[in-house]
Amino acid sequence: MAITDDGDFKQAVDDLSRAAQRLLAARFVENVLELGKDARLKGVVNAAKRSDITEDELALAFQSAKAASVDSYTQCGHQCDWDSQAGHFVAQAALACLKPEPGAAWEAATHARMARTCASIAGGSGTDNSEALAQYRIVTEFLKS
């Protein structure tokens, strides 16, 4: 089944197990990884993509993503650099991948979209929701595999 809107998207990912959600979420992050400059994020995504990862390794990756997320907040009163802020949302998406709560894939998807939105604000164009379309393709392929 081809995913073409958020309704189908949410329904499809809700039915996935926690491990499958993590694997899918990692693909969403991978698609926006170029927008983040923090070297830790690549390692986090690689960890999240591993189906044989242990709980201890997951916890370590979670800590790393959390640190990247906190480090990249735009502080209150500071001039916002939207390119850097895109990196923050990549970190947030990476963090979402590894959260133990349900809904990791959808949360990672929304953060990844926000990363693209920030990058487009930095470019002066605003969002065109292109990341959502890319994610629909990713989910469709993931469900087929």
Binding site: V70, T74, C76, G77, C80, T127
Partner: protein, 420 residues
């Protein structure tokens, strides 16, 4: 005397009013304010005693407005306030004071020390001794409407993002809406989930609301830096927007000082009452709860606690509302020691988090929050101020404490009864 110092001293002379005169005369030097200040308790450094931070203002008061002080000045027997001294005092007046109000609350003679620090900041800013971070934020606020340089296209981009995520249209410039929703730049930049939560809650409550293209920003760096003229300009923008759109209520967002600036100081700044009411988002949500317009299902399984933002609980009296709201979604709620009106500040309020050089001290002061949290055993920390939220996250990360920090509005929105 340099021109800027002269202007600064003149500004201090102007801000000294009857309350300040009575406060200085009433101070009994008991030191209770020291024990109330997290910058003192966490460093044991007496320079952080709140009343000591006001020493330049006290000297100007004494030299200009008391008989003995004026005589001493005339005879050259008193020490004038100098540029070097104001520079030395800058970290005390800005870096180590979040205007949290704990000192004012414990003062046995009722001195409002926060009021005095605000007045001292007026003179410090005029004399050129405000921190660069706050000067930049204030300049951007006047020039772009946001202390963080957020412009309308960025707000519109976030609106589109939230619309796509929630499937709910985000209204802009709708005349006659019941509520004008303001945001802080922090929410626009870091926490888009706040706007999404508002959209879902308003939809369930059946209320009309709008954002305003000329007044979307709630924060007020004029208040933080201590420049009333800037504070007035920023309040006036919101008032103009609200009156143009003829809204009944303006909602101050999850931000502490924005609430103080708009609700309590705003009418005095612009010199007239508002034609609308100002409420904090938690007051609005609690009103919805009371009217049966906020309906939730399910409970958070983690043990929750609530960090009271100083400007809400101590300066604004918003104490019961968040607790009633949390009761709707919390299975296990625990209060921290000193919760409520005596809660300890996050350490980054009223502009301190915008001052880079203040970070080491801020993290040191965070130890009091760390102890509060450890004693509570809480697994998730809920708050209602975007600045508190980031300062708390940074402190927790610094001290390697794995406690998620979430906003109350979005937490409630996560539990809304589906399909309404």
């Amino acid at each position: 005397m340099s021109a800027s110092l002269e202007k600064g001293i003149n500004a201090l002379k102007e801000v000294i009013d009857a309350p300040i005169a009575s406060y200085f005369n009433s101070c009994v030097h008991c030191g209770l304010c020291a024990e109330a200040c997290l910058f003192y308790t966490e460093t044991d450094d007496p320079q952080y005693t709140p009343i000591h931070k006001l020493e330049p203002l006290r000297r100007v008061y004494r030299q200009e407005y008391t008989l003995l002080g004026r005589l001493a000045k005339l005879l050259g027997l008193s020490k004038p306030v100098t540029d070097a001294e104001l520079a030395e005092w800058k970290p005390l007046v800005y870096d180590s004071c979040t205007l949290c109000g704990r000192c004012s609350l414990v003062c046995p003679v009722g001195n409002d020390i926060v009021y005095m620090v605000r007045k001292l900041r007026e003179g410090m800013a005029v004399a050129g001794h405000a921190p660069d971070g706050l000067v930049g934020a204030s300049t951007r606020s006047v020039e772009t409407g946001s202390p963080m340089g957020v412009k309308l296209p960025a707000v519109q981009a976030q609106m589109r993002h939230v619309q796509a995520e929630t499937g709910i249209e985000i209204p802009l410039d709708v005349e006659g809406a019941e509520y004008l929703v303001l945001m802080s730049s922090m929410e626009i930049i870091n926490f888009p989930e706040y706007l999404g939560a508002i959209a879902r809650i308003m939809k369930q409550a059946g209320k009309t609301w709008t954002l305003c293209s000329t007044g979307f920003e709630a924060t007020n760096s004029g208040i933080q830096i201590g420049v009333s003229d800037i504070a007035k300009v920023l309040v006036q923008r919101i008032v103009d927007g609200a009156e143009k759109l003829k809204v009944e209520t303006v909602i101050s967002p999850e931000c502490g000082h924005a609430y103080t600036a708009l609700r309590w100081e705003g009418p005095n700044l612009i010199g007239r009452p508002y034609t609308f009411q100002v409420l904090h988002i938690l007051e609005v949500l609690d009103g919805f709860r009371e009217q049966g317009l906020l309906r939730t299902s399910g409970l958070e399984q983690a043990k929750l606690t609530f960090h009271d933002p100083c400007q809400l609980v101590r300066r604004g009296g918003v104490f019961e509302q968040p607790r009633r709201l949390l009761k709707m979604v919390a299975k296990d709620f625990v209060e921290m020691n000193d919760a409520g009106k005596m809660n300890w500040c996050c350490g980054g309020g009223d502009g301190v988090s915008a001052i880079e050089e203040a970070e080491p001290l801020r993290l040191q002061a965070f130890q009091v929050k760390k102890r509060q949290l450890e004693a509570s055993g809480a697994q998730t920390l809920v708050t209602a101020c975007a600045n508190c939220r980031i300062v708390l996250e940074e402190g927790l990360e610094h001290y390697q404490m794995n406690i998620p920090v979430v906003g109350l509005t979005e937490t409630l929105a996560e539990h809304l009864v589906q399909g309404e």
